[in-house]
């Protein structure tokens, strides 16, 4: 894993991080209650985000289906979001995909269930009265 040399240059902090600090800052500031962010916090957040990207990618790849796979796919990520507690906060933005035909079938079955239940209820009413 490519890691960075720990140096004490003037711009040492900047070089430890590949993600642009200005962009990280924009995202952080879009959070409603945040007033200001000190420079160290900004650098740490950027660095943490890089570590997060590495972790999400390697975790999803390792836990993906099948061995000797040559690619990391969207469904590897969606599976991670659903199955891992650590990554569960991503579940809404990385939903699993299903075929449209399967979804329509699920909707249809749900409606049929609901109609059947309503039918039972009215039968009971008739029996009592």
């Amino acid at each position: 894993m490519a890691d960075v040399a720990v140096g004490k240059d003037k711009c040492g902090e900047q070089r430890l991080v590949s993600l642009p600090l200005s962009r990280i800052r924009v995202i952080m500031k879009s959070s409603p209650e945040v007033s200001s962010i000190n420079q160290e916090a900004l650098v740490l957040t950027a660095k943490a985000t890089e570590l997060f990207v590495q972790y999400l990618a390697t975790y999803s790849y390792r836990h993906g289906s099948g061995k000797e796979r040559k690619a990391l796919t969207y469904s590897d990520l969606a599976n991670t979001a659903e199955e891992s507690e650590t990554f569960q906060f991503l579940a809404d933005i990385l939903p699993k995909k299903i075929l449209a035909s399967k979804y329509l079938k699920m909707l249809k079955e749900k409606r049929e269930d609901e109609e059947a239940n309503d039918g039972d209820k009215s039968d009971n009413d008739e029996a009592e009265s």
């Binding site: 990207v53 990618a57 990520l77 933005i93």
Partner: protein
């Protein structure tokens, strides 16, 4: 506050590089996967910021500092990041 959509995204080239360096040689990443990881990274920043901000507010401070971010990592169960982050500060 109207942010243009691209402002909340991280640059594709950098994200791709980070992913490629983390995965074994020869493993490809689908475009969709890369885009998903990029979105996830933005969400991570928001979540970490919100969490760190809670710590700042508890400490009655208006400025987010390094220890708030480290506390956030602990809270979010990314303890594994804490040592490399502390090293980055030195």
């Amino acid at each position: 506050m109207a942010e243009r959509p691209e402002d909340l995204n991280l640059p594709n080239a950098v994200i791709t590089r980070i992913i490629k360096e983390a995965l074994p040689d020869g493993v490809n990443i689908s475009k969709e996967a890369r885009s998903a990881i990029s979105r996830a990274a933005s969400v991570f920043v928001l979540y970490a910021t919100s969490c760190a901000n809670n710590f700042a507010m508890k400490g009655k401070r208006k400025t987010l500092n390094a220890s708030d971010v480290l506390s956030a990592m602990e809270e979010m169960e990314f303890q594994r990041f804490i040592t490399p982050l502390k090293e980055a500060l030195e």
